[in-house]
Structure formats: C-alpha cells, structure tokens
Amino acid sequence: MLEIMILSFGGQGGVTAARLLAIAALNEGKFAQAIPQFGAERRGALVRSFLRISDNPIRRHSSVKNPDITAVFSEKILNIADVRAKTVVINSKQPKLENEEVYYVDASSIALELGLISAGWPIVNTAMAGAMAKVLGFNFESLKLAIGEIFSGRLAELNVKAAEKAYGGVKRWNA
C-alpha cells in the first residue's frame, strides 16, 4: 500500500487532486482512498490531504502519518511544513529539497498559461495530479477519465490539458 500526503494552500485544490488520483487508481484496477484535511478550511491556509493506493481493499481510515510520497503544491509551504517522505513531487521550477527522490513540475505556470485561475490563485490541482499520476506510473487515460468525472465542458478540457502537460513535463531532480 502506498501512502501519500498532499500539502497545499486552501484554494489550490489539494483535496480535489487526491480525489482525482483515487479515481484514476480505481481506473487502474486498484483500490484507493482519498482523505481530505479533517477540519475547517479557509482560503489561504495550509491544507493536508491524504491518498492511499493499494492492490487490496483499504480498511484503515486514520490519517497518513509517514507518507511514502509527499506532494507539495507551493514552494511557500516549505517555509511552514517539514516535508518528510522518501519521494516528493513539488510544484517548482527548481526545488530546494534533499529528499531521496524529488520530482518537480512548474504547475503554476501551466495553470496560468491555461487560465486556470481563481481569485488570483493558479489552480494547480490537475497539473499536480498529472505529475503525480506519472510518478505513480498510471496511464494518463486513467487520470483523464477521472477528470471527466469531476469536471465538465470547457473546464474539463482545460484541466485535462493541464494534467497532460504536467504528466509529460514532470522531471526527476538531481540535487
């Protein structure tokens, strides 16, 4: 079982990313579980969400304490949260991280380019989900279907694009 933690700011869509990836995992024939931050979110505040993926039914419901992978939706988060996982996927042009495996993608730019903006924030969830799907070894199709389940119309299209770009663009960082 893989345990994943997503760190994002409220409004960035960390919870949705977890859901998308859970659906994508189901599409991959796996079992999955997406757990949002337990609590009151306020736009702008740090949000922790969790994702579990497994070949077998997932029974536990507690939060993820020692993630195998951590996804970081904004570099600013590094100032307020310790990122401890073997693998990290980060929205960054140039991640300053020393974890064992660091993957990075400039999700903000992808979102801005596509006009995925709300209240001034680039909505990076689908891009980050794309990057994570790649790191997790999912077929892109699985994620695409998931996006179609949650978004519709033009928004779905844009988000698929964002995910696709990130899926293709995510890179391993060698510090």
């Binding site: 700011f9 306020r42 736009r43 702008g44 505040a45 904004s74 570099e75 600013k76 100032n79 307020i80 903000s108 209240a119 001034g120 924030w121």
Partner: protein
C-alpha cells in the same frame, strides 16, 4: 480551555497572499480609509505614513480598492 488575545491566531497569514499591497507614501493623503477598512487590521497609521504588516496582511486588496489616491497597488507575490 481559555484563549487569550494573540496576534496570528491562525499563524503568519501573510503566507496566504497571492497579491501584495504596495504603498506609495507620495500619493497618500493619510485619509485613514485603508486603515479603517482593512479586515485584517494589518494597517497602522503613523504620523506621516501608513504601515502594512506583511506578516499578516492576506492580500485581499480592499485597501487598494478603497484608496482614492491610488497610493496602494496590488502586485503579484513572488513564489519563494
């Protein structure tokens, strides 16, 4: 559990900003409006200027909107 008055009860909310209010003392006429309408109480009025507390300013942009003198401008925060 009893709570006592504390700045930053939600932490350093300056981190929430995507846009940052930038102040131009030249244009300011010290009308106090930004101070009155800052929902975060992140603005102080000194003798000759206002001061924005960037530790807590959330970048809502109300101060910039309310300033008739356009002495506050919202600029995109750098990702750091």
């Amino acid at each position: 559990m009893i709570a006592k008055p504390s700045k930053g009860s939600a932490g350093k909310t300056g981190l929430w900003r995507t846009f940052k209010p930038v102040y131009d003392v030249e244009k300011c006429n010290l009308c106090h409006l930004c101070w009155l309408y800052c929902p975060e109480n992140a603005i102080d009025v000194l003798e000759d200027r206002i001061v924005i507390d960037y530790d807590y300013c959330k970048g809502c942009g109300i101060c910039a909107k309310i300033c008739a003198k356009k002495a506050i401008e919202m600029v995109r925060e750098e990702e750091t």
